[in-house]
């Protein structure tokens, strides 16, 4: 077929403008695919933040709010739940395990989570993966702390380093529990979840550092030294929330009803999956908007191609007449222009995909460090193929406009050229 060869040569002849057009298509396609990829990865990593937990229990508030503070460590609880209620839930026959969560303190911008050793055993993320230690082990002593991977990386901590916990989320000098420093006993392996950004200590330790802090600030004479604390009963009176695992998932709804109807205290139990998808539907609006915007960027790229082809057309009237004179049919003239649009779009798509993978390869480390989002270098997904096909179809459609003009022109002009 001589037409494809002609289209190629003609593009090559205009390689500078063709390259610009190709580049704008490539960039817009890379953007579109990048947004799509980050979107799906974010959704996947979001959904894999917590797994294996059947119920999250906290004080009565909204399910999303509970999920946010208990799992994502975003925002603050309005109320705590009593240790007694927690004990009662844990004692229910259907309950296999519980993990208490106690929030409120921080260390240099990272949240401190008071919990039990069960946390390291039962917490699951990403379809049932358990937490593992990169270094050290779970807390054994009262003043042992276990760091999330990101905390250790960002602050440069190693095992046995001493750290001081601050009261509340801010880090103010006078609100530090400086008299009871902690020792880094373990560092967790990276999970890509909020676990990476937490400092874990025992519930007893949380109790110990708050003795004498009942008013929100140290009361002179009421605070204790580590030695004094070790001799005291450090059973907590309250916790922030709890993760609950059941012996059988069939019991989930019955247990949820039981907790929500609990008499002594206003409690809320949510199914993590339900709350996650509720939360995601909030985020999805922004995420959809992002995809639509990048779709428009692709459209702008294609309109650039349309402009280039249309402008080129008037200069090429002569060329089209020559082709007609040697026997080219009008549809071949049409095919020539469409072929150029198709070639440009195809090459643009190809370059865009190469660009995307290049950027991914270069950016993965950065994105993972900054946002805890792990972008795997996987092959194109079905959805991404659909997007590429849609762009190709749009390119074809856009190419049809100048091609149709060329077709009409070459029919109207015949061999006489009136310029």
């Amino acid at each position: 077929m001589p037409i494809l060869r002609l289209a190629l040569l003609s593009l090559w002849n205009r390689r500078f403008t063709a390259l610009l057009t190709l580049l704008s298509i490539a960039l817009s396609v890379a953007l579109l695919l990048g947004v799509e990829r980050v979107r799906t990865e974010a959704r996947a990593s979001f959904a894999s933040t917590i797994s294996g937990t059947d119920l999250i229990v906290g004080a009565r508030s909204g399910p999303i709010q509970l999920l946010l503070y208990a799992v994502f460590r975003i925002g603050n609880p309005t109320n705590n739940i009593s240790w007694q209620s927690y004990q009662e839930i844990a004692a229910q026959p259907q309950v296999a395990w519980t993990v208490p969560l106690s929030l409120g303190d921080s260390h240099r911008g990272f949240r401190v989570l008071g919990t039990s050793l069960d946390y390291f055993e039962h917490y699951r993320y990403a379809r049932g993966r358990a937490l593992t230690f990169a270094r050290g082990q779970p807390f054994a002593d009262l003043y042992d702390a276990v760091l999330g991977a990101e905390v250790a990386r960002a602050l440069g901590y190693r095992l046995d380093d001493a750290i001081v916990i601050a009261h509340g989320a801010g880090d103010v000098t006078f609100a530090r529990h400086a008299d009871q420093p902690f020792r880094v006993a373990g560092i967790l392996a990276r999970t890509g979840t909020p676990v990476d950004r937490a400092v874990h200590v025992s519930l007893a330790a949380i109790e110990a550092i708050h003795i004498g802090w009942e008013g929100g600030a140290p009361m002179p004479g009421r605070t204790v030294t580590p030695d004094q604390a070790r001799r005291m009963d450090l059973t907590p009176t309250q916790i922030t929330a709890a993760l609950v695992g059941l012996k059988s998932r069939i019991a989930t709804f019955a247990m949820q009803r039981w907790i929500n109807a609990y008499r002594e205290e206003a409690l809320l139990a949510v199914l993590p999956g339900v709350a996650l998808s509720e939360l995601w539907s909030l985020v999805a609006v922004a995420e959809q908007a992002l995809l639509i915007v990048s779709g428009f960027v692709v459209l702008v790229g294609l309109i650039g191609m349309l402009t280039a082809l249309l402008i080129g057309l008037d200069e090429r009237r002569r060329e089209l007449a020559i082709l007609r004179s040697v026997g080219a049919r009008p549809w071949q003239v049409l095919a020539l222009i469409i072929g150029e649009a198709l070639l440009l779009t195809l090459l643009g798509l190809l370059t865009g995909v190469v660009l995307l993978y290049g950027l991914l390869a270069a950016g993965t480390v950065l994105v993972e460090g900054r946002f805890g989002l792990y972008l795997e270098l996987r092959v194109l997904s079905a959805q991404e193929w659909r997007l590429l096909t849609a762009v190709l179809a749009a390119g074809l459609l856009v190419g049809f406009i100048p091609a149709w003009r060329a077709y009409r022109m070459s029919l109207a002009d015949g061999l006489s050229l009136r310029v």
């Binding site: 026997g327 080219a328 061999l415």
Partner: protein, 277 residues
């Protein structure tokens, strides 16, 4: 001898030689092809658009095999329009255009395009070449659209490229460094000769030239014509050559003033009769 006078001298000599040749030259080529005229127009009426006046109204016109016909007419008189009809790019609203015995108005568009690729070579006034193709590719263009032109070119020189080179050499474009140049770097005269090679490759029965010399100097014109005539004769092609420059008319077998035979728009044409050949 100044170039212009040399040109005139050559043409004069050549005209004499041609007179001697016409008896045998075309006859040899025509012998292989079926007899009958290359072109036969009858009662042709053509207008570009229904709301526009008629551009052409020709009762009849015939061109014999191998004949060299000159058609004169002022600019805007419908010369190019007539050539478009002969090439089958447009069809008349009335009447018949027969080329090689085939009534073009009876063919559909695709068949006419195929017919043109097979049997007709076309040279424009200027800018004949596709800028992004090499000289060779420009010459070979008709062969890409017609198997018959390919076959005939091969039959002549063995290979397509060899035939293109042969034609280019005959048209004084043999220098190897010339052929590697981009077509945009050629002079107008060189471009027109490449166009002639393209029109001639595969020996089409009919060569149509639409004022191919109007962009050339007058001495170059006659040299170009001489080469064109030679090649047409060698391949047995008939030549229909259109120009508003009547000084060339004498070199042809026959010449025709379009204004005189075209009855369309005679209201305006009557005031300025076409110069007689």
């Amino acid at each position: 001898m100044p170039a212009r006078r040399l040109g005139r001298h050559l043409v004069a000599q050549w005209t004499r030689a041609r007179a001697a040749l016409t008896a045998t030259g075309p006859a040899v080529a025509v012998a292989a092809a079926p007899v009958g005229p290359v072109v036969a127009l009858r009662d042709l009426r053509f207008r570009w658009r229904p709301d526009e006046p008629e551009v052409l109204a020709l009762d009849q016109l015939q061109v014999a095999r191998g004949e060299h016909l000159f058609i004169a007419g002022p600019s805007g008189s419908g010369k190019s329009t007539l050539l478009g009809l002969l090439a089958g790019v447009n069809v008349p609203q009335q009447g018949s255009v027969q080329v090689l015995g085939q009534a073009l108005e009876g063919l559909d568009g695709a068949a006419r395009d195929r017919f043109r690729a097979r049997h007709i070579g076309y040279i424009f006034q200027m800018f004949n070449l596709i800028p992004y193709l090499s000289i060779l590719d420009n010459v070979l263009l008709p062969c890409r659209f017609s198997a018959r032109r390919r076959a005939r070119a091969r039959a002549r020189s063995g290979r397509l490229v060899a035939e293109a080179h042969r034609l280019l050499a005959h048209l004084d474009l043999a220098a190897p460094d010339l052929l590697s140049r981009p077509v945009t770097a050629l002079s107008v005269g060189q471009q027109q000769r490449v166009a002639a090679a393209r029109a001639l490759i595969g020996a089409p029965e009919l060569l149509i030239a639409d004022e191919p010399t109007s962009a050339l100097d007058s001495d170059r014109r006659q040299a170009f014509l001489r080469l064109l005539f030679d090649e047409c004769r060698a391949s047995g092609s008939a030549l229909i050559f259109v120009s508003h420059d009547t000084s060339l008319a004498g070199l042809f077998d026959r010449s025709l003033a379009l204004g005189a035979v075209n009855q369309a728009g005679s209201a305006t044409a009557a005031g300025r009769p076409a110069p007689a050949a």
